[in-house]
Every structure is written in C-alpha cells, then in structure tokens.
C-alpha cells in the first residue's frame, strides 16, 4: 500500500480501537501466549493492519478459537494464522512441527514453548 501523509494520524485511532474492552482482551490473550507486553503487540498490530481489520479482531478470534488441536492452541497458532494473520498457515505448521520434535528429543515442554515463542516473534518482526 502507498502511504499517505495523513496516515500517521491513523495511529491514534487504531490505538483507540485496540484499547476498547473486547479488543484489549484478545490483545492481552495473544501477548500472554507470545510472552510479550501488550504494548509491543499493539505496536505490531498498528503497523500491520488497517482500522477495519483491527475492529474485527474479537470476532476473528471467536472464529479461530473453534479450530486447532491442543498443541496449536497452546502455541496460539490458530490466533496467529487465522485471526491476527501475523503468520502464514505454513509457518504455523512449521512451528508446531519443530515444537513437537523438540519434545520428542527430550527437551522440556516449557523450554520448547519458549523457543517456539522466540521463533514466532522473529517471524512476526521479519
């Protein structure tokens, strides 16, 4: 998308959307899953998406919560790939596979999860 001069003015409006009750709940949920502060996640969302997408986040999360197995839900993959669209489906599958591989190789679930979180953040920020 081309950027317009007035677009920087939209940042405050996007933040206002994300601060509302239902939006704040889903942002907190994903921030906790990723192990980052909600302010950091808000910044990522404001940079990546238009106002309408942000407005629709709670409904998208409702739809995404109905999909995915337990491992995917633990890593927040349905939210990241379907609701927030911060990762592609292939990237989500890859992270899940690597997480399962690590556990098979004897790494503790907690360590495997934190490594998966790191990978997710690298992908989101790249």
């Amino acid at each position: 998308m081309n950027t317009y001069l007035y677009e920087k003015d939209l940042r405050q409006m996007k933040l206002t959307i994300l601060e509302s009750r239902r939006h704040d709940a889903v942002v907190l949920e994903l921030a906790a899953t990723l192990g980052i502060k909600r302010q950091q996640l808000r910044k990522i969302l404001i940079e990546h998406f238009d106002m309408l997408f942000l407005e629709n986040l709670p409904a998208r999360c409702d739809a995404a919560r109905e999909t995915g197995d337990d491992t995917e839900k633990l890593l927040g993959i349905p939210l990241l790939t379907q609701a927030f669209r911060l990762l592609s489906k292939e990237e989500g599958d890859q992270i899940k596979e690597q997480y399962l591989e690590r556990i098979e190789n004897g790494i503790t679930e907690e360590t495997a999860r934190s490594e998966a979180q790191m990978e997710i953040l690298v992908l989101i920020r790249s």
């Binding site: 998308m1 081309n2 009750r21 238009d50 106002m51 998208r60 409702d62 995404a64 379907q82």
Partner: protein, 361 residues
C-alpha cells in the same frame, strides 16, 4: 509492451453510492484491484462510552440509536440481554409481537440494502420500486409502534403497545401487497441481463474466507454458511424458523438471499399473527446485577451485546459487536481483491450491506 502503472485509487469518504462516509483505499493495476484497505473514523459516536454508568432505562434508548436502519434489533437484543440477567420472561403475546416488529424491521432493512445495490449498478427503476415498497413496510412499523425508526417498542417483560384486531388485518393485507409486488421485482432482478453482468460471478466470497473472518448474516449465508441466530431463539423456534442459504457466493447471491428473507419474514409475521393469543403484553420485572454475552440476528447478521449490570439496574460495562464489522472487513480484504473492474468496487462493497453507523457505533 506498454508499461502498466499501479494506481492507488481512493473511493470515498464521500461517494454518491455510499449512504455513510468511509474511505476504501484500493491498489489497482489498470482496472484490476490488487488490494484494498478501509479507513473509518468519520462518524464515530462513542456510544458504548456514553452508555457506561447509566441506568438501563436510558441505555435502552441509546441502544437503538446505534443504527438508524436496524434500530429495533438493538432494542431487542439489549432488552433480552438484561431480561436474561434478571430472569425476566416476556409474556407469550409480547414475544410474538416482538418477532412481528423485528421482522418488519428486517424487511425494511433488506429492501433498503437491495435498493442501494440496484442504485449502485445503475438500475434506478428497480431501485425506486424497492424504495417505494419499503415505505409500505415502514407504514406497518409506524402502525404498530407509533414510530418509523427509533420505536423503543420492546421493554423488559413485554412490549410497549398492543396490536388491535383491525391493525392485524391491515398488516395482513399489507403483507399480501408486499409479497405480490416483491415477486414482480425479483423477476426483474433475476431476468435482467445487465443485472446479471454486474452481479453474477462478481465479488466472490469463499466459504473458507467467510468462516475465517467470522462473516455473518446474508453475506455469510450467500456463501453457504448455515449461521442464523434466529435458529436458537425460542420464539423463532416455535414458529419453525430455518435459515435461507445459497451457494453462489457472489453479489447476486447476497441480493437474492435478502429478497428471499423478505418473503421469509412475511411468512414469519403471518405465523406469529396466527399464534397471537389474547393476554397481557407486559409482565414487569426488576433488573438485577449480572453479566451476559447475548446475541441475536440483526438484518445484517449476528449482533452481540456483552454487558454487566449492578443491583440498581445500571450498565457498568458494555461492548457491542455489530454485524457490519466482520462483513465490511471480509468485503475489503476478500471480496474486493481480484475484482476485474474498478467499477465493481462500489457494487461489491454495497452488496455486503455495509453500515458505517453500526461499525463506528
């Protein structure tokens, strides 16, 4: 070979085809639409903030002011939400009267949406016919509730006013007139070759994309999704309601779902009139403290009210998720992408029945 230049094409915020202001920013290659973004903020009301801390008697009136087109359903959902918190059950007669008024509201909303679409594709004759027919529906709303738009008809435990036998007869003959006229207009829509050119195969929304974005209402049902909150509502269940679903997933399907739902609404009103028994229209009750997530089907789709009340009947917290939010989002990010002509941008957008007042609430 001639160089193709990518063009950023802004549509709106003021546009002859839009009823309300919003800006669609499209990236195009020639006529082909590559991507689209929607910007809001032109008519933000902040109504949730205004509602917070106020007693339900005030919030009830504010709720129906969220949207000027589908005000009855906001009144309906808010009152049923506080009724559910407080364990209030409406009287049987009031429950059917609510359905009658709600379906009249749905009819006028669908007719207005289809009018807008016909106007957008430059079929002004059919558009004006539909707008004229909508007036018949608005007259019925006024007949029952005493108002055309902000009716404030539904109150905890019942409804505000009764329907006399003469008024019921007037309503029945109006429904016959609507059915006859609408059949004629649908034939015009179905057989118009130019309408088909502008509508069939345009603005495709796949079932998967609709599910992912939580698309609702006729927009989702035109893509083969069986999602209608009326299916779970006790009064609608008693009337034998089943949703209308189509599979084409294009502009044509979305308009036809609305047309078919107008017929369905006339049928539901006739059934409700037949089921109306003599009895009180107000049951009374006191609003208590509690929290709820309550949803019902607005003309545009699922409407969700999430609210918390206290012992004095004040609304401590409230969040409203209107159906236009997911529908406009899926329209901008799925339906508009790959549109073959820039002229289709407005028709695709209008086919999703966008309501900016609802979206910006």
């Amino acid at each position: 070979m001639k160089k193709t230049v990518d063009v950023s094409l802004p549509v709106g915020p003021m546009h002859p085809c839009f009823k309300e202001p919003c800006r669609i920013k499209c990236e195009t290659r020639g006529e082909y639409v590559l991507s689209a973004e929607v910007e809001l903020g032109y008519v933000k009301k902040g109504i949730e903030r205004i509602m917070r801390g106020r007693p339900w008697q005030e919030v009830m009136f504010l709720a129906e002011r969220v949207c000027g087109i589908c005000s009855v359903i906001h009144n309906f959902v808010f009152i049923e939400a506080v009724e559910n918190i407080s364990g209030i059950v409406p009287t049987e007669r009031a429950a059917f009267l609510r359905v009658i008024v709600n379906e009249l509201d749905r009819m006028q909303s669908h007719l207005l949406a289809n009018y807008s679409y016909c106007y957008t594709i430059e079929h002004e004759t059919l558009a004006m016919y539909l707008l004229n027919l909508r007036e018949t529906v608005m007259d019925q709303l006024e007949l029952i509730t005493g108002a055309r738009v902000t009716c404030a008809y539904i109150i905890p435990g019942g409804v505000r006013s009764d329907l006399s036998a003469e008024d019921a007869e007037r309503l029945r003959s109006a429904l016959d007139h609507i059915d006859a006229e609408l059949s004629r207009f649908i034939r015009i829509f179905e057989t118009g070759p130019l309408i088909a050119l502008r509508s069939k195969g345009v603005g495709i929304l796949t079932k998967e994309a609709a599910i992912e974005a939580h698309a609702v209402g006729p927009t989702a049902r035109a893509s083969g999704i069986d999602n209608d909150q009326r299916s779970t509502h006790p009064t609608y269940k008693a009337l034998g309601f089943s949703p209308i679903i189509r599979q084409e997933a294009d502009n044509y399907a979305r308009i036809m779902v609305r047309f078919e739902e107008v017929f369905q609404s006339t049928g539901l009103i006739r059934s409700a009139l037949a089921a109306l028994k003599e009895g009180p229209i107000r049951g009374g009750g006191t609003i208590k403290a509690g929290s709820i997530k309550y949803r019902n089907e607005a003309p545009r789709g699922e409407l969700l009210y999430e609210l918390t009340t206290d012992d004095y009947g004040r609304i401590l917290e409230i969040a409203i998720q209107t159906p236009s939010i997911p529908n406009i989002q899926v329209c901008a990010h799925e339906m508009l992408i790959d549109a073959q002509s820039a002229a289709d941008i407005t028709s695709i957008f209008i086919s999703s029945d966008p309501c900016i007042a609802c979206t910006e609430r």
